[in-house]
Every structure is written in structure tokens, then in C-alpha cells.
């Protein structure tokens, strides 16, 4: 999967066994976060090209992943009457954002559906597989709006044109995102394509974050000076003696 993502950096990849091609387009190459950012939607459009006669019906899974980080799941337990962290499970290279959209739920898919290994949804992106910690990771990330799965999130507008909407929450992570679409027919992958986009701070927010990261001492001194200015202004304005 991961190796595939790297190899498939080009926008157009075709399976050699069948002749279908996927062409993807995004509503934006960059999501910019300004001071009024409160989440946003990204629309993925695509068409199935070179479909042979009787090639359908098709199923699609569109997976969007954000920057990978080590996510740690902590479990609290009662120790000597106090609820404290008993165990920590690390999930290295887990996506900080994950959206798995598909044309229909697995149980309805029938014969033409993706095989179980390919449609494990969110769990398929958790390193290590099934465990109580993995279940908790999925549940909590879903609650935060950072991971989501929608089994009817991809709609075919006509036999070859499809559309999906990726919902980015207000707390969306910053960095490079990848959208991968997999086209299934008769239970196997017949075409694959990826596109990427970035989530980046813009304008004032980008400037502040950049200065805070690069000119650390200067930024710290500026905040300290601001604190003294505020303290002095409050004293001068409200002085009563």
C-alpha cells in the first residue's frame, strides 16, 4: 500500500490486465488555513476511461490520508483507588487524518465487490491490526472528526463519472495529503490513481508559525515585551492613585 503510494505519484496509472484508466481531479490543490478557518470540504472528481463494453458495474474506494505520525493510545486503569495510565500502545506511521469513502457498504456489495482484505476500511490503516487499543484509536479519531468512513461517500453521476466529498475538520493536521482511488470490477482492482494536496496555514497564521519556529528567541522576546506592554497599559489606564 505504502510503496504503491510512492510509485503511483503520477496522476494516471493503469492496470495492465484490463484497460480501464482512472483520471482524478481535486477541487483545490491547497487548502489554506486563515484566521476564519472552520473546516472545509474537498471534492474529488474522476472519470473511468477506456471502459470495455460490459466492464461494469464498478465499485470505488477513495482513501485520503494525512501526514503520518506515531499515535499513542493510553489506557487508564484503577491502581490503588486511582485511575492512572496503565498501558500505552504506540501506532507508528499512523495517518493523522483518514477518510475512507466507497460506493456502497461491504454487505451490499455482493459478487462485484472488493475482496475483504481490500475493504477493511479504517482498520486496514491501523498498523498491527485488531486489538482493544486499535478499536479505541478508531473510535476516538472518529469522535474527533479526524478519521471517518462513509460507505456511500462516492457517487457515480453517470456510468463513468464519479464524485466524492472529503470533509476536513477544523482541527485538520497541517501537511501533505494523498488521495488514492481504487476501481474494482468483479472483485478485483482494475485501476488505481493518486493525487495529492496540501493543507497549509496562510497569511498572518503562516507568518506567525514560521517566525515562532525559526526565530525562537526573537519570538519569545516579542511575546515577553507584549506581556510587559499589556501590563503597563492596564496599569496606566486604570490607575487611580
Amino acid at each position: 500500500m505504502r510503496a504503491w503510494g510512492l510509485v503511483a505519484a503520477a496522476c494516471l496509472t493503469a492496470s495492465s490486465a484490463r484497460s480501464e484508466d482512472l483520471v482524478l481531479a481535486l477541487s483545490a490543490q491547497e487548502i489554506t488555513i486563515a484566521s476564519n478557518f472552520a473546516g472545509g470540504d474537498l471534492t474529488v472528481f474522476g472519470i473511468v476511461k477506456n471502459a470495455p463494453a460490459g466492464g461494469g458495474p464498478y465499485d470505488l474506494i477513495i482513501t485520503t490520508t494525512g501526514p503520518a505520525e506515531t499515535l499513542a493510545v493510553r489506557e487508564k486503569a484503577r491502581v490503588a483507588g486511582l485511575w492512572i495510565t496503565r498501558s500505552t500502545t504506540d501506532f507508528p506511521y499512523a495517518p493523522t487524518f483518514l477518510s475512507v469513502l466507497s460506493t456502497r457498504p461491504p454487505e451490499e456489495s455482493g459478487a462485484g465487490a472488493p475482496p475483504p482484505s481490500e475493504r477493511s476500511g479504517l482498520l486496514g490503516h491501523v498498523p498491527g491490526g485488531v486489538s482493544a487499543a486499535a478499536a479505541a484509536l478508531i473510535r476516538i479519531q472518529e469522535r474527533r472528526g479526524l478519521w471517518l468512513q462513509d460507505d456511500r461517500g462516492v457517487a457515480f453521476l453517470d456510468p463513468s463519472l464519479f464524485r466524492a466529498t472529503v470533509r476536513l475538520p477544523p482541527n485538520v493536521p497541517i501537511g501533505a495529503f494523498e488521495v488514492e482511488a481504487r476501481l474494482y470490477s468483479g472483485g478485483s482492482v482494475v485501476a488505481r490513481s493518486t493525487v495529492s494536496f496540501r493543507v497549509a496555514k496562510a497569511g498572518f497564521e503562516a507568518g506567525v508559525a514560521d517566525v515562532a519556529e525559526r526565530l525562537r528567541l526573537g519570538y519569545g522576546l516579542a511575546v515577553a515585551a507584549l506581556a510587559l506592554l499589556f501590563g503597563w497599559a492596564a496599569s496606566a489606564m486604570f490607575r487611580r492613585d
Binding site: I33, A34, S35, N36, F37, A38, E69, T70, L71, A72, V73, R74, E75, K76, A77, R78, L82, W83, I84, T85, T88, D90, T96, A133, A136, L137, R139, I140, Q141, P170, N171, P173, I174, K201, F204, E205, V208, A209, A212, E213, R216, L217, Y219, G220, L221, A222, V223, A224, L226, A227, L228, F230, G231, W232, A233, A234, S235, F238, R239, D241
Partner: protein, 306 residues
């Protein structure tokens, strides 16, 4: 009205944060405390990452402390010499505190340690103040702090004595440095200024006049929090200037109203209210530790750079 915080990397409701700062500023002006022990948990509660909450609260405490320092300096009610001795200990204590903070964070037990510390510190100080203020109320007057002859003679026997003119005391610097170190340690671990610990210690143990204690404590808090702001900015780049400005604006306005209300109240009433406030926050943390959590699991991003 939402605005995006550039370092915390989440949008917040400006009016909510401003309102919280106003309320905490009111309380801090009324009681002459920094209010960090109220603000930091509130910021974490609304979703600000802990590191950013602690780091952005530091300049707000510095700003309100500076307002107080200017007022007390005009009245010559700051003992800079005493403040510097306390700071000497504070630097050592804060260094140990930061080290302890990182060790506990690596062990995944930071939340528990912070909660236990809050329960112990707030419970002890709140309980002592409650007993003292209820006794004074029952006696029907604001009594001066009780003399503690035993403690006095023990401290009086220590070497390295120094005279503090404004505080009108002549004591060894060793217990003062130890006190400063203790406050610095607790402050670094809990992300608080520690004024509510320093003031009673100086009043009850060292019997420094109350007016000088408050001014000197504010001076010590100002320097500590300016240093904390710089340290957080340099080591973690976790100070959010937008969040800090919102907190400073709300805090300084709220504090002015708090001071006016506080000046109309009797000292014993103020101490009783502060005791109840400290105990309430302590009970809140105790509940976190002892009540079965709604979800025993939590997820954090392990950031290798922090």
C-alpha cells in the same frame, strides 16, 4: 466568532476565550493571585494542546503580575532583595521541575502526576485557609497571623543570615532559597505562578508584612513567568501569541474589576472565598482521579521534536 490559533493549530471561539480570561482575571484581581491554576485547566478543557496552554498562559500571568508590580512599586512595597533571593532558589527548582515533567511525560504518567499534585497542593492550602478564615470569622474579626514561636527559633538557628530592610526581617537565606526552589519546582510541573503558595509561606513562616509580601510575590512571579515564556518559546516553539494576546486583554480588564470588588471586602471574607475556590478546583481534580472515566482510552500524537 471563530479565529484560528497559529501555534495551537485549532480554531477557537474568540468570545469564549475572552470571557474565560475576563472571569479568571476578575478572580485573580480580587484575590491577588495569578490565576494560572484556573486558566490552564480551562484551556486544556476547550481543546488547546497541553504544551501550548501552559506556554501561552505564562505571558498572561507575566502581564497581570507586571500591572501589580508597577502599583506596588509606586507604594515602595516590593523587597527586591528578598525577591532576588527567592528567584535564586526558583531557578534551581524550575530546572528540576522541567526535568521531572519530561521524565513523567515519557512514562505516560504526566496527567496523573499533575492531578495528584493539584489535589495535594490545593487541598492542603485550601484546607488550611478554610480553617483559619472560619476561625477568624467566628471570633468576629480579622485577626493577625498567629505567631509560631517554634518554627521561628528553628529558622533563626540557621547560618548565612541576611537583613531585608523592607520586609523588616533578618533571617538565613537557606530557608528562603529552599522556599523559592519549592515554588519553582511546583510552578514548572503544574504551569502555575505559585503566588497562592508563596504569599502564605512568607506571611505565616517568615512574618513579612502582608503589603510587602504581595508586591514581592508579584515581582518573583513576573520574572519567573517572563523566563518561562522565553524557555517555552526557545525549546518547544509552543507559545501562541494570538491566544496569549486574547488572554492578556481579557485578563487585564477582568483584573481591574476584581481589584475593585476585592478592596470592598474584608480580608477574612476574601480568604474564605479563596479557600473554597481552591478546594473546589482540588475536588474537581480528585474526581478525575477517582471516578471511573467515561472512556478509559485516550489518544495522543507522539511528537518527536517535543
Amino acid at each position: 466568532m471563530q479565529t484560528y490559533l497559529p501555534i495551537a493549530e485549532i480554531p477557537v471561539d474568540v468570545l469564549l476565550v475572552f470571557g474565560m480570561a475576563l472571569a479568571v482575571g476578575f478572580v485573580s484581581g480580587m484575590f491577588g493571585i495569578g490565576g494560572g491554576f484556573l486558566m490552564t485547566p480551562l484551556l486544556i478543557f476547550i481543546g488547546i494542546p497541553t504544551a501550548v496552554a501552559v506556554a501561552s498562559e505564562a505571558p498572561q500571568i507575566a502581564a497581570s503580575a507586571f500591572t501589580g508590580v508597577l502599583a506596588y512599586h509606586r507604594r515602595q512595597a516590593i523587597d527586591f532583595r528578598l525577591g532576588l533571593v527567592l528567584l535564586g532558589g526558583g531557578v534551581v527548582g524550575a530546572g528540576l521541575g522541567v526535568w521531572f515533567f519530561n521524565v513523567m511525560r515519557a512514562a505516560g504518567q504526566l496527567d496523573a502526576i499533575i492531578a495528584v499534585s493539584y489535589v495535594v497542593v490545593l487541598g492542603a492550602i485550601g484546607g488550611l485557609m478554610l480553617v483559619e478564615s472560619v476561625r477568624s470569622l467566628m471570633r468576629g474579626e480579622a485577626s493577625p497571623p498567629p505567631r509560631r514561636a517554634g518554627r521561628r527559633s528553628m529558622i533563626a538557628g540557621l547560618p548565612l543570615k541576611m537583613r531585608f530592610r523592607r520586609s523588616m526581617i533578618h533571617v538565613s537565606v537557606l530557608p528562603l532559597i529552599a522556599l523559592g526552589a519549592g515554588i519553582g519546582f511546583i510552578g514548572a510541573v503544574l504551569g502555575i505562578g505559585g503566588g497562592f503558595l508563596l504569599v502564605p509561606a512568607l506571611v505565616y513562616v517568615f512574618r513579612v508584612p502582608t503589603a510587602v509580601v504581595v508586591g514581592t510575590s508579584l515581582f518573583q512571579i513576573l520574572v519567573t513567568m517572563l523566563a518561562a515564556t522565553l524557555l517555552h518559546a526557545i525549546t518547544n516553539a509552543s507559545v501562541d501569541i494570538v491566544l496569549a494576546a486574547l488572554l492578556m486583554l481579557g485578563g487585564s480588564i477582568g483584573a481591574q474589576f476584581g481589584v475593585r470588588v476585592g478592596q470592598k471586602m474584608r480580608g477574612v471574607q476574601l480568604r474564605l472565598l479563596l479557600a473554597l475556590l481552591l478546594l473546589a478546583v482540588g475536588v474537581r481534580f480528585l474526581a478525575d482521579l477517582t471516578v471511573r472515566p467515561a472512556d478509559p482510552f485516550s489518544v495522543v500524537v507522539k511528537d518527536p521534536s517535543r
